[in-house]
């Protein structure tokens, strides 16, 4: 779920923007200029993946993917997610433009955390990788849900009910995404393990 315009207090929106811009600026400076176009192209595939809807009982949910993006991109994940959310906002109105900063934090921070945790826990076997994938995917969604609730709660006591509901709504998504994330990681481990081994765009500046 993305926050629409007009929900958050202006101060929170602006603070979100400030933090996001700082984060993006940091990523841009830290990343090798050769990697920027690559991050952009990969981001489009994450965007497309997040459009896939999976049935959940009578309704359907779409994937949020902060965990996987984090695991694959590492520190570049925040930049990638911000670009993705900006495009979702201007193309589909998923998430308001004024709330873009808050939305980026909500999805980007779990992704950064996933990027930090994943290489440390993934181990060497297919099973341990899959488990790590499940953990970061599910955990990423849960954390995004909690951040969403926290952001909503800043809007005042009236929103606490909605905030609780939002967290509750993230729980089924969390299970689905944990499953998909685990399978994706297991698949990558079998087919192209180097994508998991080096967080492709995070290494030290390489010669080009």
């Amino acid at each position: 779920m993305h926050i629409a315009d007009g929900v958050l207090p202006v101060s929170v929106s602006l603070a979100g923007y400030a933090l996001t811009l700082a984060g993006v600026g940091y990523s841009l400076r830290r990343l090798d200029s050769a990697n920027l176009p690559k991050v952009a192209v990969v981001t489009s595939s994450f965007f497309v993946a997040s459009l896939v809807h999976l049935p959940l009982g009578p309704t359907s949910v779409h994937l949020l993917l902060p965990g996987i993006v984090g695991a694959l991109l590492g520190p570049a994940a925040f930049l990638s997610i911000t670009i993705g959310l900006f495009l979702q906002s201007i193309l589909f109105q998923f998430g308001g433009l004024t709330a873009l900063g808050a939305n980026s934090l909500m999805m980007g921070l779990p992704a950064l955390l996933a990027g930090f945790v994943f290489p440390r826990i993934r181990g060497r076997t297919r099973t341990s990788n899959a488990l790590a994938g499940i953990l970061v995917s599910g955990g990423g969604v849960l954390l995004a849900g909690l951040l969403l609730a926290a952001l909503l709660a800043t809007a005042g006591e009236d929103f606490w009910g909605v905030a609780k509901l939002a967290v509750a709504a993230h729980v089924p998504v969390m299970f689905i995404e944990a499953g998909v994330g685990g399978c994706t990681v297991a698949f990558l481990f079998q087919v192209k393990p180097e994508l998991l081994a080096v967080q492709t765009f995070s290494g030290p500046r390489n010669e080009q």
Partner: protein, 521 residues
Amino acid sequence: MAAQPMPAGDRPPLYSLRHLTYTYPDGTPGLREITLDIFAGDRMALVGRNGSGKSTLIRHLNGLFTAQTGECRYQDQPLIGALIPEIRLRVGMLFQDPDDHLFCPTLYEDVAFGPRNQGHREDEVDRLVRDSLTMVGLDSLCGKPAHHLSYGQKKRAALATILAMKPHVLILDEPTANLDSRQEAVFKRLLHEYTGTLIIIEHNLLFLHDLCERAVVLADGRVYHDYAFNDLLSNPQALREHGLDFTFRFAGRNRHYIGAGHHHHYLPTHDHGTEGGHLTPKDSGVPLIELQHYSFCYSDGTPAINDINLGLFAGETIALVGENGAGKSTLAHCLLGLHRGKGTFLVDGRPLVKGDWPLLWRRVGIVFQYSADQLFCPSCWEEVAFGPQQLGLSPREIELRVQKALAVVQLEGFDKRVPLHMSGGERKRLAIAATLSLQPEILILDEPTASLDPKSEEQLLAVLEALPMAMLLITHDLFFIRRLCSRTIVLHQGLIIRDYKTGAFFADNQLRTINGLDNIN
């Protein structure tokens, strides 16, 4: 076998490669000890099987890869460091997938990218962009984003992005893959007009025929031969050795003669009518699937196919031909129930009712043009078992079907292999196996020969010839049509304009011309 260098005269070489060796980071050898001179004005074909190092070699020629051991010199300067960015502005490189070249928001920006990097003034850039777009016939589309173009247009646009830079050297990686003959002819004309040094990687030796004067054969990362192009063509043994032997295409003619009114098979397995073509077996009077007055429009209202009347009978093999964009794939998708149009859809002579649509896939299988779209499992076994698993069959039955399907496509023992790491030809056959395991009554193949090397084509042909079910073959490949199909259907702008015996089709020069097999529009 040592390389036989072309007589070079006294010209200094443009590129001189000495003992060039390249190993990929994962340890796969790419090039071994390549020694080769390329001269200014050379028109060179670079041929060899998939995986023989051709792509690795051309990447050294504009500094995408730098020499690990050995040397790569351009005009007698080693191609390293500061020379590389400079070289790239003079050496144009066209990769296979045009989408990789078109990374800007509009076609104009894409073509302007190179000239701007060359440091031209904006008015000069504008002139170069317009000139090169006019040259490839896309000047009217210059404000469009790339995703609005058709595949052939994209391919030409990608060429324009490079021609706009006025390169001294033009390197092309499989320029004709997935193009119909009309587009191929356009490419050939453009390459004829180009006067600089030309290096082309291509399997289609017929395309190269009057374009290249020199042929360098690579095998296992080595220069195996360095011929004058015509010498290569006249040396069938060398062709066969390198999996380049497209002559099986001509050899077939002797056994499979099609003349006016006659049609013989090498192995006479079924009856023939007096006027050519196979006779429909008498006991299957009702087609497996029949479309009557069937039309389909895209959601934006563009008609894709119009008033189609078509029946597919058990055991027959039909060719579906037509220029790019004639609606062939759309028709195939309609037969699968992926698109639902207006008109009557009969299965076994009975109209399809609403609940039957989702079950059509059990009877009709399709092998898509790009294997990459179809292969998404981590192992071949899982790939082939995927369909039967959806059918809910017992594990024993699944195992049986998987093994049978793998055997039919000559991939026994590939169970554990990762589809992504297999060669193009193997992947194509795996995709066929994945469909065969569903035991369809009709198999649709969309451009099965696209981007295969001749060796893989030959294997594919053997597999297809042995398949018993009804087949619909969408292809531009006249040879495959001749060998496999009894009936040919010609689609033009969404309409079936001919449905006749293949023999009659081959006799019909005019229609072949209309339908992009020679020329169109």
